[in-house]
Symmetry: C2
Subunit: 226 residues, 2 copies
DNA sequence: CGATCGCTTGAGTAGGATCAACAAGAGTGG
DNA sequence: CCACTCTTGTTGATCCTACTCAAGCGATCG
């Protein structure tokens, strides 16, 4: 972990992010005032479950995996954050981290003092509003994950993930690049890496071709049938 | 479903609830101004997944089950709310219900206009603050569920549920009454009713005695070992 | 060129879902 | 008060999914 200076491209990452994008420029600048940047390499730990955190985090680049640890040491991902996403926001009010955070690849992270942000939210209705919407969105994401876990099989979860990455049009065939390692995707979907691999194997019969991180879909309807 | 009048005991339910309890009395009264009460009997549906909801709900008595429905019609609970809890709050900002809601027993529900509440949150920092804390708490709850699903076996989940209902002291033996039907608990824990039954069966060997809705624990340490 | 890493594939296993039968209450109505 | 039914929960048997462990394969890197 190493501290560094904010670039202008970092600034646009902030300004176009879901959270900061809704706020007036001046407010954002006031917040960015005391942002502290740091880099992490793959497998670096940002904090541990139960740590008392005094910061809110924001991904400028890379990928952060949020996970809980069971008594036997097994890990379960509860969320994965990439460029432009904010996390550990709930520690702002809960005081302690509800999960551990690890860089799933080399990452640049910005950090804000949570007390100051909380103060700002109390003073500026825009900020409060942004927080509320952000939390609603986060809540829906976790609810989605939970429902997927409980309702879908491994193959269905993967199919649904692929479909969520397809353009809205009616094109029956398209392709995209996985934004991270397959093992990370497996974690995010609540699967062992082997199960993900087998799911891809099954989907191959339905016109899904996987080459490295490139996913090609040739028959979208077949996917939707799962 | 039937509308009715608010009683003074309803009022104290509001005032002592997690959400309204943090707000000054005058604010609460202003909100309660246009609360609409209605009763539901068991299995009544309050709304369906995807409905566009213009209300925020509050449980005055009874039990509401929030669930998603899979393509095959199977249901998966994402939350269960009892007296004093607010729900469907995220529809305030998302517009549509992310899940269906059903009364798991006869219930009395209060309803508020979400537009008005949203307005109030924008104007009154206290209300915004209360919403933020409420959403943080809700987020943690769902995260807990997700982590439990991914890390614990059926028996462990039940043991953990029981322990979460035990007094903080060091008493090794205690008992409590299930606040709802076992089938509801099964749903909440993401289990088939049969699996819950078998889990209780397993726990019997560790000093857990179940008589109807009464749970007796005789060896707390044995439970914690799971 | 070995070595490591990320992924795939195979075989065995465990946990829980499903289906079905059954027991124990709780109402209901005569 | 008793028979009847409906509901709720338990238990048994079977099956299926996904986990675990282990081996193999290809790519990348020193």
């Amino acid at each position: 972990m190493k501290t560094l200076q904010m670039t202008s491209s970092d600034r646009t990452t902030f300004l176009t992010s879901r959270f900061f994008g809704r706020l007036p420029c001046s407010t954002v600048d006031a917040i960015l005032e005391d942002a502290r940047l740091s880099t992490f390499k793959e497998h670096d730990i940002l904090f541990h479950q139960g740590d008392s955190i005094v910061d809110v985090f924001f991904v400028l680049s890379g990928l952060i995996r949020l996970y809980r640890v069971g008594k036997d040491g097994r890990q379960a991902d509860v969320a994965v954050f990439s460029k432009g996403e904010m996390f550990a926001d709930n520690t702002m009010y809960l005081g302690r981290a509800t999960a551990s955070a690890e860089a799933a690849e080399a990452s640049v992270i910005a950090r804000f003092d949570s007390a100051k942000l909380r103060q700002l939210a109390a003073a500026d209705p825009d900020v409060a509003q942004a927080f509320i919407e952000h939390l609603c969105h986060r809540g829906k994401m976790t609810e989605d994950l939970l429902a997927q876990d409980r309702l879908l099989t491994a193959t269905q979860r993967v199919a649904s993930y692929i479909l969520s990455h397809c353009p809205n049009g009616t094109a029956t065939s398209f392709s995209f690049r996985l934004p991270f390692q397959k093992s990370v995707l497996a974690g995010k979907l609540g699967l062992a890496p082997e199960a993900l691999s087998r799911a891809f194997s099954t989907l191959r019969r339905s016109g899904v071709i996987v080459k490295g991180r490139i996913i090609e879909i040739h028959d979208r309807l077949a996917l939707e049938r799962f």
